[in-house]
């Protein structure tokens, strides 16, 4: 059984470079103790997530919707384990597969095949397992001979197909997708839906962030509306979409 439970998660996101994160400032601070009073406003802290509570269990296909900057990506990164919040409790049980951004994942100079090896390994597969899965990944990606070309030569759709094939190849119990599904063409979308449904059939969890209401409608059975880092609504898809459209 896969499950996700977040209790009172708050994520403070430090942003540097607003007034610079240079050593000089730290050193100046050390050497001029008491003389110049640099207030600690030099790093801006953004509350990316406030008091997030959610409980997901097997069979949940959750659509995450919200305006830009609502904290969708941050929340997905917390679920993946990339960001570790200091406040709150997080429990994720089950093997996580994630596709958080399509351009970030693939190494542009490496070939498709090399990227399969590297990313499967990063996702925790053993070399023998990767060789087992390779034909399946290649088939789903449908890239043919392009697999031996460097990934920088791929179109964004091709990159997405490969990335999606790799992310789902580990047969995750929890699949986390960020915005990416919308980039593919309709054939890919159908294939992706099938793949997502087969993950669901194994009674697992999918969390998908998207602006596209159609995609959410066709894949998800639950919706979370996020705004300013807070959950505004959790519940059925239709109600949630109506809520989202009517909210200011």
């Amino acid at each position: 059984m896969a499950s996700i439970s977040l209790k009172n998660i708050t994520l403070d996101f430090p942003v540097y470079g607003v007034s610079g994160r240079s050593l000089k400032k730290k050193l100046l601070k050390l050497s001029t103790v008491g003389k110049i009073n640099y207030d600690d406003g030099e790093t801006v802290v953004i509350k990316a997530l406030k008091n997030i509570n959610m409980d997901l269990s097997s069979g949940d296909r959750v659509g995450l919707i919200g305006p830009n900057g609502a904290g969708k990506s941050s929340l997905l990164r917390v679920l993946t384990g990339v960001y570790e919040p200091l406040h709150g409790e997080i429990n994720v049980s089950g093997k996580v597969g994630s596709l958080l951004s399509l351009s970030l994942g693939l190494e542009p100079e490496s070939s498709g095949n090399e990227n399969i090896t590297i990313h499967c390994m990063v996702n925790g597969m053993k070399p023998a397992e990767i060789e087992n899965k390779r034909p399946k990944i290649a088939e789903f990606a449908g890239l043919g001979d392009f697999l031996s070309m460097p990934c920088r030569t791929y179109s964004s759709g091709m990159r997405l197909r490969l990335a999606f094939a790799i992310a789902t190849a580990i047969e995750p119990e929890i699949l986390i997708l960020d915005e990416v599904v919308g980039v593919g063409d309709s054939t890919f979308l159908d294939k992706a839906k099938k793949r997502i449904n087969s993950i669901i059939e194994k009674s697992k969890i999918v969390v998908l962030a998207s602006h596209d209401k159609e995609i959410i409608k066709s894949i998800c059975n639950k919706i979370i509306v996020l705004k300013d880092g807070e959950i505004q609504f959790t519940g059925a898809v239709d109600e949630g979409l109506a809520f989202y459209e009517n909210s200011p």
Binding site: L86, E114, M121, V122
Partner: protein, 266 residues
């Protein structure tokens, strides 16, 4: 809270080492990509290093009036080891930025990305070692085969030491972006300050300690002594082990404080 952070810090190192498949592959892939379109591939490393050592050895050997049969092996082993240490340090500043695509996508221990850098530089080091072979043969340097296990042991020491300090530099360098410039200029200065091109015996006696206490000199000795047919001094080992212990403790304390924040800094 503190206890949990300590545990997670140690776990990061432990799991990183255990995922050797991953960092070995990432390191090898870095080398592959660098020389993908060239005919002789990574042997460019060997070739350019050879040209540098062979010309420098002749010039500086004459300038310092040292017997070339002593100077050549000394310089070659020194430069090769120095290159290993210096590039590991300078590249580690950007370790996390370079691996950002993996860090922001999946949950791997951060030590994996450090090991990637150290591995990559060791592969280059092994290529560079080949330049030493002709020198050892031409100048008939006597190396007993018994020294080989010692060589491997010392390489392991440098690897571990490199890992600790590269990790520290990577964390600080990710948080404070000026560190890169500082490190680059410091390594340039240390190349001249460390007995690589010159020998400590050329110094006036009162400056002797200045060379002996230089950590880079001691680390270089770990490789240079066996490679030129000598045994490293006991002091070299004492120094290296204290360097290692210090490095590990600093790394642990730093990691305990900052590990969970690294992803935010990228």
């Amino acid at each position: 809270m503190n206890k949990r952070m300590s545990r997670l810090a140690l776990l990061d190192i432990q799991q990183g080492i255990r995922s050797w498949h991953t960092w070995l592959l990432l390191g090898v892939q870095d080398i592959r990509l660098r020389y993908r379109r060239s005919v002789i591939g990574p042997f460019w490393i060997t070739l350019s290093m050879a040209i540098m050592i062979y010309t420098m050895g002749f010039l500086y050997g004459k300038l310092f009036k040292v017997d070339l049969s002593i100077y050549y092996p000394y310089l070659a082993a020194g430069i090769i080891t120095w290159t290993l240490i210096a590039t590991t340090i300078t590249e580690s500043v950007e370790a996390f930025f370079q691996s950002a695509n993996y860090i922001l996508q999946s949950k791997l221990p951060y030590s994996t990305y450090i090991l990637r850098i150290v591995t990559r530089n060791f592969i280059i080091f092994l290529h560079n070692l080949l330049t030493l072979l002709p020198i050892l043969i031409i100048f008939k340097v006597k190396i007993s085969f018994l020294i080989l296990p010692l060589l491997f042991f010392n390489m392991a020491l440098i690897f571990i030491c490199g890992f600790c300090y590269a990790y520290i530099i990577a964390i600080v360098g990710t948080r404070y972006q000026d560190v890169k410039q500082i490190i680059v200029s410091l390594t340039q200065i240390f190349f001249l300050l460390t007995p690589i091109m010159w020998m400590p015996s050329m110094l006036p006696e009162r400056f002797g300690l200045f060379a002996e206490l230089n950590p880079f000199y001691q680390l270089i000795n770990l490789m240079r002594q066996p490679l030129t047919g000598h045994l490293p001094e006991v002091f070299t080992y004492v120094y290296t082990f204290s360097l290692l212990a210090t490095g590990f403790i600093v790394l642990f304390l730093l990691l305990r404080r900052t590990r969970h924040r690294i992803a935010f800094w990228i």
